[in-house]
Amino acid sequence: MTRIVIVGGGTGGTVLANRLADELGPELDAGDVEVVLVNDDPDHVYKPVYLYVAFGERTPADARRPLTDLVDPAVTLDIGRVTGVDTAAKTLAFADGAEMDYDHLVVATGADLAPAEVPGLEAGGHHFYGPEGAERLRDALAEFESGHLVLSVVGVPHMCPAAPLEFVLMADAWLRDRGRRADVDITYTYPIQRAHGIQSIADWATEAFEERDIELRTFTNPDAVDPETQVLETMEGEEIPYDLLVAIPPHTGSDLVTENGLGDDGWIPVDRHTLEATDLEDVYAIGDAADVPTSKAGSVAHYEAGVVADRLASEVRGQVPTATYDGKTICFVESGMDEATFVEFGYGETPVVREPSQTLHWAKLAYNESYWLTARGLL
């Protein structure tokens, strides 16, 4: 019997498990293949919900559903924490002392937040990348009547490269709706010389910022925060005072990756087209854990999962795998509280930013609801 083990039940791991259940149905029924999905939480978490939590539009509970509701019954669901990977012996060790052999391993352990990497950031800054952070930010925004709101992209790489833009554009609209905008200055800081990594998105955002009186500061890489004096200090030697700091914190890959030597900084080097780990045998990596030159975004994990499902199905059947990933990335980008735009691109491509519209905003909200079909491998 061939055992495929997927470690991580986020978007990539869950979509992959369900796609494999679909593609390898006869082999699973015959007992020739086993697909195991291991996650350390019985729930699946859809992280994009947290942006809306900050504005009081959703709750953290909206982001969670039990994996048992999402994963095909043909998949063996194992709720536990993998702590050890021996790629030579092809075994996994669990925190509870259990062990498991595998024939094919897929690492889909995602990204974690590491705000402690920047002194003062935990005490001085807010974020919307997790349930507690988003709720704390919601409460701070609710009471924020006047002053300097600074959104700073501190950590690179980070999940969802569109989210910082979305936050300031939504905050601008949210504050205007409540009559507070005249008393609030908004600043957006970005590490490189423009407002976003992709030129066309940067151009669009720069124009939107000018229209909405949002200050853009480029080449700004904060390396410390002073929570007492409420000042952001940068690698470039500048100081930025703030009254409410919303930061994109530094990110790191899973401890499982770093502690088992699977990749530096927690990201696993892979062939960007096949997603096979370059230095490890019979190991794939997908989603944020994979070190590919595109966004750490749910759409990337989703499309990568489809490619790896095809490749693993071919391998199980003794065929040469031919499916490849071309860097396909799709992002809906909120550009206010009731309008959004949409971009799509692959490796080396520059996307066209569509004119923002209410229809695209509704499309984003509709997708957020239908995401649960994506997790089931249906959409």
Binding site: E117, G155, V156, P157, P161, P191, I192, Q193, H196, G197, I198, Q199, F219, N221, D223, M235, E236, G237, P250, R272, P293, T294, S295, G327, T329, F345, G346, Y347, G348, E349, T350
Partner: protein, 80 residues
């Protein structure tokens, strides 16, 4: 002709779209020790200008920019 530089860290951003080569480099430079030498590999011609501009602003040292025949550049940077 001088010997090729020996980087401590190689950042391979060839084909990078989002967030881009300079972001990849900054992410590596930030936690590194002073004196660490980086090689950024990029096929993005605008990075030839963007990276030195940031290196100067952040006070690091641009060691060299080498163009390769197969369509990419190696930009060598030392963290100061």
């Amino acid at each position: 002709m001088s010997e090729p530089l020996q980087p401590d860290v190689t950042v391979d951003s060839r084909g990078a779209t989002c967030p881009g080569p300079l972001m990849d480099l900054i992410g590596k430079v930030k936690p590194a020790d002073e004196g660490t030498v980086f090689e950024l590999r990029t096929g993005d011609s605008s990075s030839k200008n963007d990276v030195p501009e940031w290196v100067e602003k952040a006070g690091h040292e641009l060691l060299d920019v080498v163009e390769h025949e197969d369509g990419y550049w190696s930009i060598y940077v030392k963290k100061v």
